[in-house]
């Protein structure tokens, strides 16, 4: 499988690395190496362990097992500072900028001590530095005022300023339009010719294959082999990225009437990280939102629910939603199930009962006092129906498993009689296989009752099995819509990695690249 005979010295060598976060095994015995002057692509689905692997290589995370060698020396102390000293540069997916400082100050902090000019010359030095990368960014600007594309290019420039032997790029093009991607790739190729080893993590296969020498695929935290880029096809790589040992069952879909009533209509909705977006969701329909992480899917859902600000129009049942706060959409029957269960969806220390009934207390109260009897009866049936596994409705919701926590938050739309749209963000994240089916079934049951649901998920298999239709988002826009009869895990992954013709043709002038 792997390529024989090292041509150049290895500048990065990760051997037998494993890492678990709690019960989740993020990486299992993964080995990757990168030679001087090579561009080594690392591909995999969301959650396949790419970012964890980079975190370990860069010293930000300590592995449970295995070793990291940078420039031939072993990384003994797991800290970003130690990795930098050995010659590793990294451009983080979510950046390493201190947003409150100026661009010049950020560049200054990014370079090693011996490469820094005196403090007084910082500005002119920073200007020259940016000009060297052909970046047109004002060095006196506060970094927080830059567009996402500018931040992303600055992040790569900062990583290069450490004069690394090996450079790690974590999804460096999520916020970039085609021209900027081109600019970045020119820069990366230049560096590779100068002898820098580059590890390029991306889910955009055509982009990354255009520049890579070798490719390593990851799936569920396990390496799927390393190949010469010229010798693999996109189809072959996709086959390595997907495919799952455990099959999950999905509830049956009912055929939707051709012209069912439109429940949710969105037109020209645009926020800081997405848009403009137009779509409709019909009565009884479950619409899936696919895409690589960070392409605006979450922000779009949150904007619909009034949690984030966005311009444009969105209506539910024909009435325009008042999205200035979450109250408006909620009153109109639009319920968001946040993916951040502990932080947003639930009150972790409160009981299952309190969490389930919090939105309908008025109905369960007489003269302002909640009556426990009706409250218990109201949730008892749903607890059974959704198969929430717990000792007692009085135990704190934080003591339940992730799946059961999610089911508790799903009780809420069942209790409210007025829900028209459920917006679910990663409804089965951290949920075991058995509980997943219960959640799918609950969502499908609500749809059959005449609701509309929008499910954002990073799991293509889940979207393919659960949804009636899936839209794929990239750089904040819908780039493809997959109708029911075409739905399949492979079809969705192909759309996400943009391997089908036409996807890249959707131009992107958004995200403030012109700002």
């Amino acid at each position: 499988m792997s390529i024989p005979g090292p041509v150049s010295p290895e500048v990065l060598s990760v051997r037998g690395v494993s890492k678990a976060f709690g019960a989740v095994q993020a990486l299992r015995d993964v080995s990757v190496d990168c030679r001087a002057g090579e561009i080594h692509a690392l591909v995999g689905e969301n959650g396949s362990g790419k970012s964890t692997l980079l975190g370990i290589a860069s010293g930000f995370l300590a592995p449970d097992d295995g070793i990291v060698e940078i420039g031939g020396s072993r990384l003994r102390r797991h800290s970003p500072a130690a990795a930098r000293q050995l010659g590793l540069g990294i451009a983080y997916q979510d950046y390493s900028h201190v947003l409150g400082l100026s661009v010049a100050e950020n560049i200054y902090l990014a370079v090693p001590a011996d490469a820094r000019p005196t403090y007084g010359h910082m500005q002119s030095w920073a200007e020259e530095t940016l000009a060297g990368f052909k970046l047109d960014i004002s060095v006196t600007a506060v970094t927080g005022s830059l567009s996402l594309a500018e931040r992303q290019l600055l992040e790569v420039a900062k990583a290069l300023l450490t004069r690394p032997k090996v450079l790690l790029l974590d999804e460096p093009t999520t916020a970039l339009g085609p021209d900027a991607v081109e600019q970045l790739h020119t820069l990366v190729l230049e560096q590779a010719r100068a002898g820098v080893g580059i590890v390029y993590v991306s889910h955009r296969l055509p982009e990354v294959l255009a520049v890579a020498d070798r490719v390593t695929a990851l799936r569920d935290g396990v390496g799927q082999g390393t190949f010469e880029a010229a010798s693999v096809s996109e189809e072959g790589l996709i086959a390595l990225m997907i495919g799952r040992p455990l099959q999950v069952a999905f509830p049956d879909r009912r055929a939707l009437p051709e012209e069912a009533e439109v429940v949710l209509a969105v037109s020209g909705l645009r926020g800081e990280r997405f848009g403009p977006i137009d779509l409709v969701v019909r009565k009884g329909e479950i619409l899936g939102i696919a895409g690589a992480e960070g392409n605006g899917q979450v922000q779009f859902l949150r904007a619909l629910a009034g949690v984030e600000h966005a311009a444009g129009r969105a209506s539910c049942g024909g009435t325009e939603l008042d999205r200035r706060s979450p109250v408006g959409p909620l009153r109109a029957g639009v319920v968001l199930l946040s993916g951040d269960r502990r932080g947003e969806a639930l009150f972790p220390v409160l009981s299952v009962r309190a969490n389930a009934t919090v939105q309908v207390l008025r109905r369960l109260a007489r003269a302002g006092v909640v009556r426990r009897g009706p409250e218990r009866r109201a949730i008892a049936e749903l607890v059974d129906r959704l198969r929430v596994r717990m000792g007692s409705p009085e135990q704190p919701v934080s003591s339940l498993s992730g799946g059961n926590q999610q089911k508790v938050s799903l009780i809420r739309p069942f209790l409210r009689g007025d829900v028209k749209v459920i917006l679910a963000e990663e409804p089965t994240q951290g949920v075991d296989v058995g509980a997943r089916f219960d959640i799918y079934e609950a969502l499908r049951a609500k749809a059959d009752e005449g609701l509309a649901a929008v499910v954002k998920s990073s799991d293509p298999l889940e979207l393919a099995g659960l949804c009636d239709r899936v839209v794929v988002m990239s750089r904040g826009r819908i780039v493809e819509e997959i109708p029911h009869h075409e739905l399949g895990e492979r079809r969705i992954v192909e759309a996400i990695v943009g391997s089908r013709g036409g996807v890249r043709a959707v131009t992107d002038d958004g995200e403030g690249t012109n700002a």
Binding site: P80, A81, Q85, S96, V98, L99, G100, G120, H309, R324
Partner: protein, 318 residues
Amino acid sequence: MKRGWLPLALMTTLIVALGAYAEARQSVFLSQQNLNALLLEAMPLVLVSMGQACALLVGGFDISVAALMTMCVVTASFTMTPTTSGFALVPGAFALVAVGLATGVFNAFLIRVLRLPSIVATLGSLSVLEGASLLLRAYPTGPINSDVTGALTTSVGFLPVAFIGVVALAVFADGWLYRTRTGLALRAVGLDATSSRRLGMSTGRTVLLAFVVCSVMASIAGFYLAAEVQVGSPIIGNQALESIAAAVLGGASLAGGKGSFFGTMLAAFFLTEIDNVLPLFQQPTEYADMTIGVLILLALVLYQAPELIARFRAAPVA
């Protein structure tokens, strides 16, 4: 960094305006004697506030400083008694600084190693120190060496030497904060700890240093408090909230990464001036507290006006 001047300008204006008003009402205000007394009276708050500014810069609070200052006064009543003389006073003085160092390291340990929020951690140390002070001195007793207190209040004309010292220190510290790499690193850690760590900075050491400096400054403030009360009083220090107020009025952000030592110093002088001026008008001291409160709110709104305006423009809901 243009807006960094706003707190300095505001504080200077307020100090001068209040002084002019007081002088117009009661001509004793600008007397050399009153000015000297005012400057000396301000020393404990000035010193502890500059320390507090360090804690705020890394995004924390230190409310244990009040009890630490009390502890230092109580310690002084044991280690710097009127009968101690000459060289024996040196270890006595070091004892105070040692108390500060130990408290700072303890606070930093709670915050960095045990991961307690700084406000909770220092609330704990506050109670421990308060209790310890009361154990050592159940009531104000134990006179403090007057040679030491005399030396601390030495003045050139009406200007206390200590005043000249803190002005120099504040100028130097601000120069360091805004004109050197390490100062920049401190602000970066306060603004965004994750990014700073990614850039290879040792955030743990920065936080440790900030809290140690804060406590040591509080213990030096303790010397001046001791010089003021001259007796081992277990219930004297109450500058915790005032020191945070001074740092904020001086331009510090509660979210960390912003602040000015010179501005903090000016604000501490201003807060003391209010206390000093009100008796001249025969106004009850309650007005001083209320004035300070209102001023802090106004100053915060003023300092954040650009951000507030921007936010309201961007989104009708915050």
